[in-house]
């Protein structure tokens, strides 16, 4: 087996440009504050449940700086981060989480089904593994049409034990499709440690060889390393060399879903990972590289303001009109199945 493990030493990697690094940090801070604000709204009882990415922001941010027009993102129910990372406006995203008429999906999708086709955010999928075959199909369309667009499909470690994971990667591999499968290994399959229910140590990387792909494991809390791994995979896909499977090892600071305190995890483990919180870690690295801390602080303050505006926008937005209950089952906007 070819082991292309990217080591956790940023010094040996090509460091992204200072502009890209700043962008990655900006996206991470946006996601962090957005998630925190939304959790406060959830805790006040004003919205339904969802799944936060706090602690895992670096992965979405790294890919977010690399994807462009025509590229497609598929996410899981834990998809707020990936949605924002595609440049989807915060206002409409927050409004969708709150089930408002102004939301991305008019309030019909909610936290687990965020979609903004105009931004290449092709959907958040709440059935484990279901979107890997779909992302494969989107990549098939790129190849069919002779476009050099790529599809990135994010999923959790638990997905690696679902049949669709294997079916999709096999198909993508035999047809050399431009799709990148990104396992966000946050080490818990809902409430159960992934290692307790998986026959291999690295749930995604150790299976890559089964499909003729290199094993790629990367520190999911290090934006620079993620950026390098993502760039290589995207380049490979755009060059027609086929899919990649990347395992990004990370940790969610909170529980599986908004109402889960995550108490099944040892406190030392939580402390250790919170000590490796990607947001302050990356800030320290940028400051060390010469970015003035005040600039980053100012950026953060502006982001906090924008997040507050998004929350105000969402909370003030109207609920969906009840007659939208019957719209858009069919492409003509209707739902009548009989005539």
């Amino acid at each position: 087996m070819t082991a292309t493990t990217i080591e956790s030493d940023a010094g040996t990697q090509d460091v992204p440009s200072s502009e890209v690094r700043r962008d990655m940090y900006r996206l991470m801070v946006e996601i962090r504050h957005f998630e925190k604000r939304w959790m406060r709204i959830f805790n006040s009882g004003k919205t339904g449940p969802g799944h936060s990415s706090i602690g895992m922001e670096a992965i979405a941010a790294a890919f977010g700086t690399l994807l462009g027009e025509g590229d497609k993102t598929y996410a899981t129910y834990r998809g707020h981060a990936h949605t924002l990372a595609r440049g989807v406006p915060m206002n409409e995203t927050m409004a969708e989480l709150l089930g408002r008429a102004t939301g991305l999906n008019g309030g019909k999708g909610g936290s687990m089904h965020l979609t903004s086709v105009d931004h290449g955010m092709m959907g958040s999928y709440a059935i484990i593994g279901a979107h890997l075959p779909v992302a494969t199909g989107a990549a098939l369309a790129s190849k069919y049409k002779g476009e050099d667009t790529v599809t990135v499909c994010f999923f959790g470690d638990g997905t690696t034990n679902i049949g669709a994971f294997h079916e999709a990667i096999n198909l993508a591999a035999i047809w050399s499709l431009p799709v990148i499968f990104v396992c966000e290994n946050n080490q818990y399959m809902e409430y159960t440690p992934i290692r307790d229910v998986t026959a291999v140590d690295r749930p995604a990387a150790d299976r890559a060889a089964s499909y003729g792909l290199p094993a790629i494991e990367v520190d999911g809390n290090d934006p620079d390393l993620l950026h390098a791994a993502a760039s290589a995979a995207i380049e490979r896909a755009r060059a027609g060399q086929g899919p990649s499977l990347i395992e990004a090892v990370t940790y969610r600071h909170l529980g599986h879903a908004s109402a889960d305190p995550g108490k099944y995890r040892p406190q030392e483990e939580i402390d250790e990972w919170i000590g490796r919180d990607p947001v302050p870690m990356y800030k320290a690295r940028l400051v060390e590289a010469g970015v003035p801390a005040e600039d980053l602080d100012e950026m953060e303050q502006q982001i906090i303001q924008r997040v507050e505006q998004a929350a105000d926008f969402a909370l003030a937005s109207p609920l969906p009109a009840v007659d939208t209950l019957m719209t858009n089952v069919w492409a003509n906007g209707d739902s009548s199945w009989r005539r």
């Binding site: 903004s116 059935i127 199909g137 599809t151 939208t324 858009n328 492409a331 906007g333």
Partner: protein, 323 residues
Amino acid sequence: MTYRAAVTRAIQQEMRHDDRVFLIGEDVAKPGGVFKTTGGLLDEFGPRRVMDTPISEQAIIGAAMGAASSGLRPIAEMMFADFVLVAQDLVSNQIAKSSYMTNGQLPLPLVIRFNAGGGLRFGAQHSQSVENWLMAIPGLKVVAPSTPADVIGLMAAAVRDPDPVMFVEHKGLLSSKGEVPDGDIVDELGKAKVVREGRDATIVAVGMMVGRALKAAEFLAADGVDCQVIDVRSLVPLDTTTILEAVRSTGRLITVEENPRLCGWGAEICSIVVEEIFSSLTAAPVRITTPHIPLPHAGVLEDAAIPSVDRIMETVRGAYARV
């Protein structure tokens, strides 16, 4: 032309018509399909547009969904109807809900085709009829042609439709023949056909049951009972206008279907008729179905399960005796 050849011609017609249309499935390209319904398509359209897949139903249906959401018009073959179940999450949780959950952002123009139905001694996992449970899922359209001409016209309608269509071919009809006009045939979804006029009762059927209903109607006519026969053709959208009008004129309704009795589509049609034109009925509607069992292998058992011409005749006669 045979029903089998009509399937090939239908796909060919649509692939010639629109470069966005492609075909994927197990054994559809080089082998020409296990039912010999896709032979020659690879030669004409090449491996870019006619693709053999691994035995990976979720990957096939998912690929069709992803491609449809990216501007293509996939036709995915599931071989046997029973295999649709293997990818049922993709069908019912993903494809069917896509337009609604995204508030119209992602309607999916795709066709999933497969061979349904019994009569060929394939046993319980290769013989079932699936129309009833597919039509129960909001978001799917369900089409079941009974003649070669309908195969072509309805396939064209399905491929050109902006929504996901489950295209039910019947393996018991593959060798049957019918007139097919020259040139492109494009039909419309949601139109039932009165395939036999009659004044005494309306028999509503789908797929292989249409031919049996027609045969039964001929025998019944000789006995002085003049039955009208309706081929529903498209279960979703459902042409209740034609059905209600027909039952209004005859006052009697008999549905004939291959599904197990519980929750069969006949129950839905009976229910619509009773709710909306109860006063036009001169007798209670009658459902002819398979019993609530998986289909058996042995010929004598399978034949006893699936509605036959004799059973349709006897049931219609029985319905008259009760009045």
